[in-house]
């Protein structure tokens, strides 16, 4: 095999969210093999142009699949489920357990943390079980959605209501960072569990 320059790997970062997909190693290998053939036939600059174009086409092809669309839509559904069912449920449970001590601010923060932790872990495990092989993309979509929604809420308060209280900022930060962290822990746990199961 004649020695030629390797394919430009930095552009592969565009396909990074899809690295957990079962077909990803084959796609990368096929692109490398075709780059090698193109470089021998048309020269390295033409092969690089071909490679950039193919990465973009593959990004498009991998995004417009029902699984990817579902992975992107799922955080919205999880958020709605959390707001309408899980959050009031855990809130009532904490209120029941804490009784007369509940109104203190530390208990409210504690209650919120417990709620976000359990709901995040629960949703992470359930969603990753439902969409096996797409865990990485799921985690990215969930984190991006949580952070995006929190930013939009803060901006809407700032522009339409004049200002936002520091307490609300803390609550939004807590919710938009801690919940994706717990979601990721649940999702990684499921991913590792399946990997171990496959290896065994």
């Amino acid at each position: 095999m004649p020695e030629i320059a390797a394919a430009p790997i930095w552009i592969l970062l565009l396909l990074w969210p899809f690295q957990g997909e079962p077909c990803y190693p084959q796609i990368e290998g096929d692109l490398n093999e075709e780059f090698y053939g193109q470089a021998l036939e048309h020269g390295i600059p033409a092969a690089r142009r071909w490679y950039y174009r193919e990465i973009c086409r593959n990004l498009w092809a991998l995004t417009w699949r029902w699984t990817t669309i579902l992975v992107i839509v799922l955080p919205v559904l999880c958020d709605e489920l959390n707001k309408s069912l899980l959050m009031p449920l855990t809130g009532s449970m904490i209120r029941l357990l804490c009784g007369p001590f509940f109104p203190s601010i530390s208990w409210i923060v504690f209650g919120l943390l417990v709620n976000l932790t359990f709901v995040g872990l629960f949703l992470g495990v359930i969603c990753s079980e439902a969409l096996r092989g797409h865990e990485r993309l799921l985690r990215i979509a969930f984190a991006a959605y949580s952070l995006g929604i929190a930013t939009l809420i803060m901006l809407s308060y700032e522009y339409f209501q004049g200002s936002i209280t520091i307490g609300r900022v803390w609550l939004l930060c807590l919710r938009s960072i801690w919940m994706p962290v717990c979601f990721s822990i649940g999702s990684i746990w499921v991913e590792r569990h399946h990997r171990r199961h496959r290896a065994a």
Binding site: M1, A6, A7, P22, C23, P25, Q26, I27, E28, G29, D30, L31, N32, E33, E34, Y36, E54, R57, N58, L59, W60, A61, L62, R65
Partner: protein, 100 residues
């Protein structure tokens, strides 16, 4: 078309060769990602089966995944061919226009 390409290539059907076959024989320039999406679906339906080859330096150390048709894949291909032939009877196609 994917099933036909896999059948034509025999034991040499993997991403690059399937893509080239579709490009040269069917004039369809399909992205590798789209080919694997289709092949995954066909494998889930039991029409094709796959196995991993050896990794090579030209592929950056990544292994090839070869595909071949299963018995139900060949059966569905035959059924589709018969269905198309049946529907074509009595039709004359000329430059994209249909004359019954």
């Amino acid at each position: 078309m994917l099933l036909l390409a896999v059948l034509r290539l025999g034991e040499q059907a993997y991403g690059v060769t399937i893509r080239r076959e579709l490009l040269t024989k069917a004039k369809k320039d399909v992205a590798i990602g789209a080919i694997y999406t289709g092949l995954d679906r066909l494998e889930r339906k039991g029409f094709v089966e796959s196995w991993l080859g050896d990794p090579t330096a030209a592929r950056g150390g990544r292994a090839k995944r070869y595909y071949r048709l299963t018995a139900s894949g060949v059966k569905i291909l035959n059924e589709t061919q018969h269905a198309i032939q049946g529907l074509m009877v009595g039709l004359k196609l000329a430059r994209g226009n249909v004359y019954a």
